[in-house]
């Protein structure tokens, strides 16, 4: 199926899911409310015409101060049988949760933990939602746009005095940081 066909057929097959579709650089994109995600994914995986057997990617986008709702959750799917791809987006406000898809694709487990770790988006129904990349003592979510880029959270004290000169220079405003 071409991307255009894919989008128009999806819209007619699933009218009650509020799908909004468009083609972005020859890539089919579908946007829908976050609550409808598990239903759509179950349909896409089990219907032979679509046959999206492979879960490629899950990530998020932070539109801090640019847009409301603040986050996009982005999924990528691939059908090996038919060789077509689909990008699925859902808009999420800060503090809102997204239903998990680990019951449909188990591989999404670590992806959802990563999104929780770096963006702070919760997934309801996830079996083990805790940090995957950062350490447990870490405060905040580092890929959010309001996380200060030069904020450090060291696990052990910086004991060696070599850097004291640098600290002094920073206090004296010798080092310029943009």
């Amino acid at each position: 199926m071409t991307p255009e066909e894919l989008i128009s057929r999806l819209a007619t097959d699933l009218p009650k899911l509020n799908l909004k579709g468009w083609v972005d650089k020859e890539h089919a994109v579908v946007e829908l409310p976050a609550a409808n995600i598990p239903e759509l994914f179950k349909f896409l995986k089990t219907t032979p015409d679509y046959d999206f057997k492979m879960f490629l990617d899950l990530t998020a986008v932070d539109w801090f101060e640019i847009r409301k709702p603040r986050f996009d959750v982005v999924y990528h799917l691939l059908s090996i049988e038919h060789n077509h791809r689909l990008r699925i987006k859902a808009q999420v406000e800060e503090g809102e949760a997204v239903p998990t898809i680990t019951k449909i694709w188990e591989v999404a487990d670590w992806f959802e933990r990563e999104v929780w770790d770096l963006y702070g988006i919760k997934f309801t129904g996830h079996p083990n939602l805790k940090r995957i990349l950062m350490y447990d003592e870490f405060k905040g979510h580092p890929l959010r746009k309001d996380y200060p880029y030069d904020k450090r959270q060291p696990l052990i004290a910086e004991t060696w005095p070599v850097r004291k000169i640098q600290v002094k220079m920073k206090e004296a405003d010798v080092i310029h940081r943009p």
């Binding site: 880029y149 450090r152 060291p154 052990i156 910086e158």
Partner: protein, 157 residues
């Protein structure tokens, strides 16, 4: 041996010099390899560049048997306590080489996850710049370290 020496001739030296000479040619390295610089380290260690010529050819994979901790690659904040612990487990006398830009100052990773130079948590003797450094540069750094070992005051423990 004895018939090549002239009878009655002897040499004198200082204990510091003799110990330094012995120590600089029997460096046992502990390679703490975490990133792509490890490829350069392997190339130096193998036959083409051959750090065995400098007496540093035997990597020990236990910090208790090592003299030189060579930190090869990026150290993240999560890894920092491990590095500190490895350093603490080494026996005196011990030296540290920061291998490459990441180990020296954090390299290109000025962000939340990366330790900005291992000298924040362990004392460093030699910094080897480069991303990654050429094998010749590593040999140069090793010779600088040997010079330092030779000329320092040797602690007798």
């Amino acid at each position: 041996m004895s018939d090549t020496l002239i009878p009655g001739v002897y040499q004198t030296t200082k204990l510091d010099r003799a110990l330094g000479w012995a120590r600089k040619y029997s460096i046992f390295m502990y390679p703490f390899v975490t990133a792509c610089c490890g490829m350069e380290y392997m190339s130096v260690a193998s036959s083409h560049y051959d750090i065995d010529r400098f007496g540093a050819g035997l990597p020990r994979f236990s910090p208790r048997q090592a003299d030189v901790l060579i930190v090869v690659g990026t150290i993240s904040q999560k890894m920092a306590p491990v590095l500190r612990r490895v350093y603490d487990q080494m026996c005196e006398p011990k030296w540290v080489i920061a291998f490459g830009a990441c180990a020296s100052v954090g390299g290109p990773y000025d962000n939340y996850s990366t330790l900005q130079g291992i000298d924040r948590i362990v004392p460093v003797d030699i910094y080897i710049p480069g991303c990654p450094p050429r094998p010749e540069m590593i040999l140069d750094g090793l010779m600088k370290l040997q010079e330092k070992i030779q000329n320092q005051k040797q602690d007798l423990i």
